[in-house]
């Protein structure tokens, strides 16, 4: 089932590419060899592969054989990754406003707590890690880390 959905998504992507390429200027030397040539060619190959994927998926479904590509996750197992990903997104937004030094400790604490660390260790690590990263990049590598627009 999953493969069929994947195949359909790939078909949609191919279709989107073919539609987007329509506005591209055509080539001057040889008909069809313009900027749209490669994307179109790739979209065609992608859609063919997607069709194969769908057909195999359908055959497996008709045979009622348990599909090999079952998603091997339970909600609880992806909870951690989802929370971490959300924290990273918040971090990036915070980076824009609050800058590196204020935002980074929160990301470190969040990621360590998600991994099962104690709050105290996470707190200490967040200061050490932010400090060393800042020193390495700002002072040693002379990279100006985001200051944040509020300060």
């Amino acid at each position: 089932m999953l493969d069929i959905i994947l195949g359909l998504v790939m078909l949609l992507i191919s279709a989107g590419i073919v539609i987007a390429v329509k506005d591209f200027p055509s080539a001057t030397i040889i008909e069809g060899l313009g900027p749209g040539f490669m994307p179109t060619l790739l979209a065609i190959i992608l859609s063919l592969l997607a069709l194969v994927l769908i057909i195999i998926g359908l055959i497996n479904k008709l045979k009622n054989s348990p599909s090999k590509a079952t998603l091997n996750f339970s909600v609880s197992s992806v909870k951690g990754p989802i929370i971490l990903f959300a924290s990273i997104i918040f971090y990036l937004l915070a980076l824009h406003y609050l800058g590196f030094i204020i935002s980074t400790p929160f990301l470190v604490i969040a990621s360590m707590i998600i991994m099962g660390s104690k709050l105290k260790t996470a707190f200490i690590m967040s200061i050490i890690l932010t400090g060393t990263t800042y020193m390495f990049f700002e002072i040693l590598f002379k990279v100006s880390l985001p200051q944040g627009i509020l300060f």
Binding site: L2, L6, M10, I17, A20, F24, P25, A27, I29, I30, E31, G32, L33, G34, P35, G36, F37, M38, P39, L42, A43, I45, L46, L49, L53, I56, L71, F73, S77, V78, G80, P81, L84, F85, I88, L92, L95, H96, F100, T104, L107, V108, S111, M112, M115, G116, S117, T121, A122, M125, L129, T130, T133, F137, F141, K142, V143, S144, L145, P146
Partner: protein, 502 residues
Amino acid sequence: MFGSGELLGLYFDGIPLVFQFNVLLALTIGTTIGIIFGVIPGLSATIGVAIFTPLTYTMSAPVAFAILLGIYCGSVYGGSISAILINIPGTASSVMTRLDGHPLALKGEAGRAIGLATTSSFVGGIISVFLLAFFAPKLASFALQLSAQEYFSICLFGISVIAYISEGSPIKGLISGILGLLLATIGTDPITAYTRFAFGKAEIVGGFEVIPIMVGLFGISEVLKMVENKNSLPLKAEKFSRVKINSFKEILKNITTVIRGSVIGTFIGAVPATGGTIAAIISYGLEKRISKHPETFGKGEERGIIGPESANNAATGGAMIPMLTLGIPGDVVTAILIGALMLHGLAPGPMLFEQNPEIVSSIFIILLLSNILFLVLGLFGAKYFAKVVSWPKPILVSMILCLAIVGTFSVRNSLFDVWVLVIFGLIGYIMNKLGIPTAPLILGFILGGMVEQYLRQSLVLSFGNIFSFFSRPISAISIGLTILTILSPYITKVIKLPRKQK
């Protein structure tokens, strides 16, 4: 062909570049980090080189390659330590070392097993560097004469091989490769300078940067995976007091195994997109088949360690051959190293040998030194590296996360790149979940520009005649091999089918 003077330059011009305090220091740090990344299951050469590549941006090219190649060689070796001590390959390429290494450790001979793995890794690595130094210049001068058609077909072969050998179904591997090629078409068309698929975003008019995509796919996605597997059992390492140094004698006794492993490793490594893991598997299989006592394999046979370990480290030098001479990566790590070369304004390929012989030379020397370094570090420090296995995962995760984000930001001082990094981290994680390998995507993305340019050039030159690809032997062979690779799972199915029906 390179003249003898130029050839000497390729070998010795790098000496003054490499034998400097900061380069040697960087090499030591890199190799140590590499061994640590190799030892820790879940971290690998790929992640190590990926997250450290952006950090090398401000460094000089020799310092950067000292760190990155050190990580590469060190981690391929380091994997054997955890394979022997905890029966889990620290890196994929030490998967065979486990089979005979761990039984030896259970017998209380962990020190001997690690000694064997260390010395054979060293010898394998050194032999492969010499083979690299011997073949690369020849291949580079040959590559200078390759036509657009031939380049295109070789690239195509590389992508199809990696799609086929990656985990998961070959169809999904190919889809991944095509998506990578498509990703490369975003931005300015190399021939007509028309901007494609940029959707008004100024940041991607020049196309996506390699670094954020790479670090996202191989760094951030691995972090997400580590979070998911956080409850995996605590690892227990077999104890051992010290590494046996007299293992060189045992290596000399089994010198034919070492040489076989090294040669297999170098050549398997040199085939685009294959790498140390396959080299180790083939070497193990061969040693078992030609052994007079195949029944001892899997029970602590020393050749079962020596063969695969010399092969997987030899594959590092081998993988550098197509990467340096053609600009086509031999494995995923060398694909990332191409990104690193580009970061330092160097284009891998035959022109590198003509324009920057001192860089090529320093790469040879750095590889050689890195192999010597991990030998020393391994023989005297394996005991300490073994302790790394129980390093607290929360700290590792937050450290890798910080390094990946700040490193990617530092390359162009761009928060946009960090967003790309994070998005591709999620994409990589989802692809892993769906059983779509990520390696073909990055290979397709890196080769995409080249593939498109060569394909269109050769079609323009031949007035759109696709059969021109079959007019030259190398491109005809490569395309033939590509088709064979893509169809091979179905061919084997067809051959097997009648047997099943019996």
